[in-house]
């Protein structure tokens, strides 16, 4: 793979900033390595920028998943594992990870179709029961449940990498 040009590097940087909520040169370097390793999978028909974006996003998802797993393991058995105390409430890494995960979850909710988004917001975030939420949306309870089910299925597709 040839060297990336300024725009492609900028693209990688933007993906990292969007997904990880911060600039991280180490992650960018690892993405470059992955791009180089995976370049054989790139087909000439597709746009190089789109391919780079997908690889970079997938790398960030893996990165977040491994970080989340590390956090979970550390909170289960941090003493015997001898890891840094990542689960401590004041740990900046933990704070960053939680913020990052929350932001990605809300982004996924924002990307849902409007009907599904309203249903999720009222029931899951505002804490309304089905009857009240259905009244608010002027639909019946069955429709609301159906929308919630579909919304959660879509979110599951998008956020599978965050589920532990």
């Amino acid at each position: 793979m040839e060297n990336l040009n300024w725009f492609q590097k900028r693209l990688v940087k933007n993906v990292v900033r969007k997904m990880l909520n911060r600039s991280d040169e180490d992650v960018e370097q690892e993405i470059y390595i992955r791009l180089w390793q995976k370049f054989s999978t790139y087909r000439e028909q597709e746009k190089l920028g789109a391919w780079i974006r997908v690889v970079a996003e997938n790398f960030c998802k893996d990165y977040l998943k491994s970080k989340s797993q590390k956090l979970l393991n550390a909170s289960i058995d941090e003493e015997s594992a001898g890891l840094e105390n990542i689960s401590a409430p004041d740990n900046p890494e933990r704070e960053w990870l939680l913020k990052c995960r929350r932001k990605l979850i809300l982004s996924a909710v924002d990307e849902l179709p409007k009907d599904m988004r309203k249903a999720i917001v009222l029931v899951e975030f505002e804490g309304l029961n089905y009857d009240d939420a259905a009244k608010r949306l002027k639909i019946n309870v069955g429709t609301l449940k159906s929308r919630l089910h579909n919304a959660k299925a879509k979110l599951h597709e998008k956020l599978a990498y965050l589920e532990l």
Binding site: R101, V109, E124, L162
Partner: protein, 89 residues
């Protein structure tokens, strides 16, 4: 699906925070608009007539030729009754 509910519960504090920020922003913007509007009402000069202009206007209205200019019945040369209305027979 329970995992998704768990993830959504995880994001709930950020949702609440954003909602609060949005409300504060909307409130601030609304207050600003109202403040600017009230300020403009207070500071912009209200068009008023001076006493001289007012007197001139009243004089023009009551003493000038333009007042009651709609009394055209008499100009039509049609017969009028004692009250100035058309005489209908």
């Amino acid at each position: 699906m329970d995992k998704i509910s768990g993830l959504l519960a995880e994001a709930k504090p950020l949702y609440k925070q954003r909602k609060r920020e949005r409300q504060i922003l909307t409130g601030t913007f609304g207050s600003l608009v109202i403040g600017v509007w009230v300020g403009l009402q207070a500071w912009l000069p209200v068009p008023t007539l001076s006493e001289g202009q007012f007197n001139d206007y009243m004089a023009m209205l009551y003493d000038g030729d333009s007042y009651f200019a709609y009394e055209v019945e008499s100009d039509d040369m049609l017969p009028l009754d004692g009250y100035g209305f058309y005489e209908v027979s």
